[in-house]
């Protein structure tokens, strides 16, 4: 490389000041402030929803900020597209990857600026370049001619990193870029990043894995609730202090009071015994009793979703046992899971695709899961159906005209419809997948109250949420998932943000597998 890239100076490469991003009434980033210098690794930390992803997307040109200033080399700048950001040397390795599965590895690596001869892509040179970059990231074993589709996720992530390096970045952003990597690969990436830092590259490192940050970070910025909390040289604060900064908000009186914990643990109504599926669920044993709200915690995507889907019969090839009322059951799909005697209900994560039929009316959506109940002979009894729907509308306080498409409703009301649809079943067990994501505070409170009322009336509730507040405020018990295992179970006063975070992040020496048996 030339002298320009090896020269290390302390002048900031990219600087963000008071960057704000709003999506309609929702503020995703309230105060984005960050300053990255060449030749250093800057760690960005924060909980889910702290605004990190929005911040990165703005830096990478995917989103344009609503307000605020971004400076590159001291000059004010605005990126209109990822391509433009890349031309300025800002390259991002996205968590959700930006590979095209049907193209070969080499094609992916050289997608925007392949070597050319007579205007056409020089495939030989492109393959050679891909090999060089793959060797750089320590993946000589990947064949550049292989289709990305045929590679396992961990290899794809390495290809993504090689692809980013091929853009000759000055600022390399890694957003959870190691989440799917094996320990070996992480070691290689860490070594590579150190080398690149020595060559003068500026690296922004976003990760939930404390030990990687410990090993790499020169500087650290903490975000909470869409705001920049503090930036400091890494090592100048203890990890406890960092965690407290990440929490950064008072626990409000949003939640209904919890009932006192029973002396004797009640017998579980629904119980999973050593549940396994592919490599996403490993030996998960967890039960929920009538009247209990059990939270599934941990970082996003550690198997919580798959656990709920397995209980609801959406996965095939599940190993282990599901026990209801003390006898084994085998749900073969939502139809058997929702029928007696199981009477399970699942409020899925994505209400727009799995929870609701958007073009259909509110009324049609509300009765969709329970149509056979309102039957008289082969036909649906419209009067009885309508009565039940109106009752549910009152109970859930859905502010909407029943005969308008559900797509016209606000997010909060849509979610009420998605939940109400399942309450019409009178479920014995209610499974919920992040039911308050992207919903206003008022509706959240209504949903919390509703869930507690349901539990008090004898429903067993299993709640997966990415919001730690909800785990603490709402749940009687919390199971922390990591890597498909339940690594920790917290109860009563033991449910604290510190305990959840340290379990989820494997901080403070919690990650020795000893608790897995618990």
């Amino acid at each position: 490389m030339s002298d320009a890239t090896t020269a290390v100076d302390a002048r900031p490469l990219l600087e963000l000041q008071g960057v704000v991003k709003r999506f309609g009434p929702v503020t995703a980033l309230a105060d984005g402030t960050l300053c990255c210098r060449p030749g250093s690794i800057h760690a960005v930390m924060g909980e889910n929803g702290a605004g990190k992803s929005t911040l990165i997307k703005i830096m990478a040109g995917v989103l344009s900020p609503t307000e605020g200033i971004m400076r590159l080399d001291g000059r004010e700048i605005a990126f209109s597209s990822p391509a433009e950001a890349q031309r300025h040397g800002v390259v991002c390795v996205f968590q959700e990857l930006s590979l095209m599965p049907d193209l070969s590895v080499a094609d992916n690596i050289g997608i925007t600026a392949p070597p050319r001869r007579w205007g056409l892509i020089d495939r030989g040179a492109q393959l050679a370049e891909a090999r060089r970059l793959l060797r750089l990231v320590g993946c000589d074993d990947i064949d550049g001619r292989e289709r990305v589709r045929d590679l396992p996720l961990s290899r794809r992530q390495m290809v993504e990193i090689a692809k980013a390096l091929g853009r000759k970045p000055r600022l390399l952003i890694l957003d959870e870029a190691t989440s799917a990597l094996t320990a070996d690969d992480v070691g290689r990436v860490v070594a590579l990043l150190k080398r690149l830092r020595a060559e003068g590259m500026c690296i922004l490192y976003i990760s939930h894995r404390m030990h990687e940050i410990r090993e790499l970070a020169d500087e650290c910025s903490v975000f909470a609730n869409g705001r920049h909390v503090a930036s400091f040289p890494f090592g100048s604060r203890t990890e406890d202090e960092i965690v407290r900064m990440m929490i950064g908000r008072p626990l409000s009186q949003m939640y209904p009071p919890k009932p006192p914990a029973p002396r004797v643990a009640p017998a579980p109504l629904l119980e999973a015994r050593r549940l396994g599926w592919e490599n996403r669920l490993r030996d998960v044993s967890l039960g929920v009793a009538a009247g209990e709200i059990v939270g599934l915690g941990g970082l996003d995507g550690q198997g919580q979703r798959e656990f709920l889907l397995a209980l609801f019969g959406c996965l095939s090839g599940v190993t282990g046992e599901i026990v209801m009322d003390g006898s084994p059951v085998s749900p073969r799909g939502p139809r058997t899971a929702k029928a007696d005697p199981m009477r399970l209900a699942l409020v899925p994560e994505d209400r727009k695709t799995e929870g609701l039929m958007l073009p259909m009316t509110v009324a049609e959506n509300l009765s969709a899961a329970t149509l056979s109940r309102w039957r008289r002979g082969p036909l649906i009894d419209n009067r009885r159906e309508r009565q039940a729907i109106e009752e549910m509308q009152r109970r859930m306080q859905i502010k909407a005209v029943l005969d308008l498409p559900v797509a016209t409703l606000s997010g909060g009301n849509q979610q009420k419809v998605a939940i109400g649809k399942w309450l019409m079943l009178g479920p014995r067990v209610l499974l919920l997948c992040d039911p308050t994501r992207g919903i206003d505070v008022g509706t959240k409170q209504e949903i919390y109250r509703l869930l507690r009322e349901l539990a008090d009336a004898g429903t067993a509730v299993l709640l997966y949420t990415t919001d730690y507040d909800e785990l603490i405020g709402l749940c009687d018990r919390v199971a922390i998932f990591r890597d498909g295992h339940v690594v920790r179970t917290l109860e009563g006063d033991g449910i604290t943000e510190e305990a959840i975070l340290s379990g989820a992040l494997a901080m403070g020496g919690a990650d020795h597998g000893t608790e897995r048996a618990a």
Partner: protein
């Protein structure tokens, strides 16, 4: 994944399995057809087969480009008919006039493609609806150009392009020329690869800085050009034209069938023009085979349908391995 990288040939075969399969099926069928010929293999037999095959192959190639981007072009048949009607008016007279006429016909094809590209890329309409609408527009223009069947085409020009050179059908040479001089360089250009990238994952393509709009537009423009060529060839074979909505519809449906048989995924991202050529040849040969085997032509649609169903089933095999039932709906 593989500690011992597969050989280049092995990988190429694995990635092009469906087109290779299509070629083998075609070769077997065509071989059988030649064997069953009552008078042995004659140039005239080859020329007729090639002309009919090349015609559908051009339409199938036109269809392949939008399909590779994850879209579809329901107007390719109508563009063929439009070009056919225009050519029956223009491809006549002095050599210069013929030349200009050919250019006008091809230009019209590109123009029609540009209308589709505008609707899909700039207007952001769904390709299936947008091209359904433009298809009717193009048919309407065809009717105005040729209200009643007929038309004149220069005889010498027609027989030159639909005849043979030393026993090799000219239409086959044209087809190879289109593949070699247009498709090969295009597929190795940045825009051409953008086409695959967009079809494979448009979000990733955008994130990677691929000119997404340009890649999509090029697909519809290319489809227009190739459909225009097909219309010209149709005119030279038939030496007349007819503004027929039924014919347009047949071309479109057969083109989609050929694309699928040739191994291009309807979800976009994988496949190519060569496979579609074999797909088109297979569809044509079914009819010829039934003809020489003296079976009733009434059997043809049934067999064509069975072959198509078989081809689509091959593509659906991976779904049997899906373990998360929700993924079946994605």
């Amino acid at each position: 994944m593989s500690a011992h990288p597969a050989s280049g040939i092995g990988l190429a075969v694995r990635h092009k399995l469906l087109p290779i399969l299509a070629f083998v099926i075609f070769a077997l069928m065509f071989g059988l057809y030649l064997l069953l010929q009552p008078h042995g293999i004659q140039t005239s037999v080859l020329v007729t087969a090639s002309n009919k095959g090349a015609l559908l192959a051009l339409v199938a190639m036109a269809q392949t480009l939008p399909v590779l981007t994850g879209g579809i072009d329901l107007s390719v048949g109508a563009i063929v008919v439009l070009a056919n009607c225009l050519a029956s008016n223009l491809v006549n007279g002095t050599p210069a006039q013929i030349g200009l006429g050919v250019l006008a016909v091809l230009g019209t094809g590109v123009l029609a493609g540009a209308v589709n590209a505008m609707a899909v890329v700039v207007g952001r309409l769904q390709p299936i609806v947008a091209t359904l609408a433009t298809s009717t527009m193009f048919y309407g223009v065809s009717l105005l150009l040729r209200p009643s069947p007929g038309g004149e085409v220069d005889d010498d020009f027609a027989s030159a392009l639909t005849g043979d050179v030393w026993g090799v059908p000219v239409s086959l040479l044209l087809l190879i020329a289109v593949l070699g001089l247009l498709w090969w360089p295009f597929s190795r250009s940045v825009t051409g690869r953008g086409l695959f990238a967009v079809g494979s994952s448009d979000a990733s393509a955008f994130m990677s800085g691929v000119p997404v709009g340009r890649a999509r537009a090029s697909a519809y423009l290319g489809a227009g050009l190739l459909a225009g060529m097909a219309g010209l060839l149709l005119t030279l074979i038939a030496e007349s034209a007819q503004a027929s909505a039924v014919q347009a519809g047949d071309f479109t449906l057969n083109s989609i069938a050929a694309v699928v048989i040739g191994g291009t995924s309807l979800f976009g991202g994988s496949g190519g023009l060569v496979g579609s050529v074999f797909g088109a040849f297979i569809l044509r040969t079914i009819g010829d085979l039934l003809f020489v085997s003296a079976a009733s032509p009434l059997w043809q649609p049934l067999f064509q349908g069975l072959i198509l169903l078989g081809a689509v089933s091959l593509g659906a095999l991976p779904l049997l391995r899906v373990r998360n039932r929700l993924e079946l709906f994605r």
